[in-house]
Symmetry: C2
Subunit: 276 residues, 2 copies
């Protein structure tokens, strides 16, 4: 499996990916799922991939070496290197997905394998604002907005609550990076098929290049602090909430549960009784 | 959708269920998913259900009114009311699932509907220890152990991390009830198809009856405290963790990320370069 998250803030972009791939629990490997495409001063793009590895690798290869059908207004081919907007670059990525679909989907279907792939793709082209896209296996895509400033691919559920609680467009970049790492840590705790090392990129709006790229392994001191600190403090918070107190008396005490009063509604005490 | 959780502790059992059912987002209803079967002093059993509502309702009806094929050693029919063990009662539940399968599965298949149902079923029969089972749509089942003291059915992922962090067989009953409510709150925050009211049962080991049954709606003061307190304190914990600091200098400072040094590994800067 995979867990990747891309976040678009006013201050910039944050991308985080794990690197575990599995074809069954007895066939686990490390494949990194993030690539940065960059011409400093002109464009920075980050691609995260999830799904069938043979498909995502083919898409990434084709994106670089084959001429796809996307054309600009003059009929000239668009590539990710000459696209004048992130939207056009996302179209190129979508075309690459469709190219692989045309080549592989029928054979995969014969083998009983779904054409399953998805990408988070974001960045900035000179002269345009930053943009962040989620590209589906049909090559279509959606764009992040202020209301939905992040996209996840792969095993998204375990790590979603903290993103929802923290992220807004005004979140500072480093805080969003921390949030992505907490989200990843929760995911890795609950799903063995998501694993280290992690790739993290933090991109500052308007810079058109990034030096904040780091590969995080189990020895990374910051990640170790997040891993132990979050678990321990979460437990402290849990302990700090009062336990419920059961009480039959009608009371306004905020921690008392009125016991038994609803019991008859859902309790069956004889074989003849029925309650659906 | 549904979210239900059953927990088996040394001190007793905790059961919690939501009550939202949906057949598409434009067809949401309230159906309660918990039933308590009880002969005080002899047996207390709690049944939680998830999956296709027509199947789970049929199973619950059949469990009460039809004679199933399960027999004891003397050839007499076993019901949940005369079963001498929770294991036998779980067999009766499994037989009820198979009965509905035989009746409905083929027609459902013609309509393109999976035979999808699952149950958490636990309790205590006089003379035996408490037991907790997870019953699958094939009527087979597994039992909770000290290493895995809880079962979830329905939308389980959002609410799993807190259960994993808190629950052990030694967890006190009221703390486990709080944990189940936090787990439910996280699930409801992230999945609109899980909703109030909730049914909560806390059963004390050996009592063979329970008075701690409560239906929790949006006005319940304890649930409101959990809902606002958990979210707010989680945010405080998040804020209390330091943000990462980026630094090129090799340093042992625990919060510094060594930036850029791994950049070349995953960065492509010319169209000719390749990196899968």
């Amino acid at each position: 499996m995979t867990y990747c998250v891309g976040i678009k803030l006013n201050a910039g972009l944050v991308f985080l990916s794990d690197s575990r791939t599995n074809a069954g629990v007895d066939h686990i490997s490390t494949f990194r799922k993030m690539i940065v495409y960059e011409q400093p001063g002109d464009r920075t793009m980050v691609l995260l991939s999830a799904g069938n590895l043979s498909i995502s690798q083919s898409v990434r290869e084709i994106l670089q070496v084959e001429e796809l059908k996307e054309r600009n207004a003059d009929g000239a081919p668009i590539t990710i290197w000459n696209a004048t907007s992130m939207f056009d670059a996302a179209r190129v990525l979508g075309a690459a997905v469709r190219h692989v679909y045309d080549r592989d989907a029928e054979s995969l279907k014969h083998a009983g394998v779904d054409f399953n792939v998805s990408f988070v793709f974001g960045g900035q082209v000179k002269g345009e604002a930053m943009r962040l896209f989620l590209v589906y296996s049909a090559g279509n895509f959606i764009e992040a907005t202020n209301e939905t400033p992040y996209f996840q691919i792969g095993e998204s559920k375990y790590g979603k609550p903290v993103l929802d609680r923290v992220l807004t467009p005004d979140t500072p970049l480093e805080e969003a990076a921390k949030c992505a790492l907490v989200s990843m840590d929760s995911t890795m705790k609950s799903n063995l098929s998501v694993g280290l090392p992690l790739d993290l990129v933090v991109y500052e709006a308007g810079r058109l290049q990034t030096d904040k790229i780091v590969c995080i392994d189990a020895d990374n001191p910051y990640y170790r602090m997040i891993h132990s600190g979050w678990g321990q403090k979460l437990r402290e918070v849990f302990d700090s909430l009062d336990d419920p107190v059961w009480d039959d008396a009608a009371t306004e005490h905020p921690l008392k549960m009125p016991a038994a009063r609803h019991a008859v509604l859902r309790k069956i005490t004889t074989p003849q009784e029925r309650l659906i």
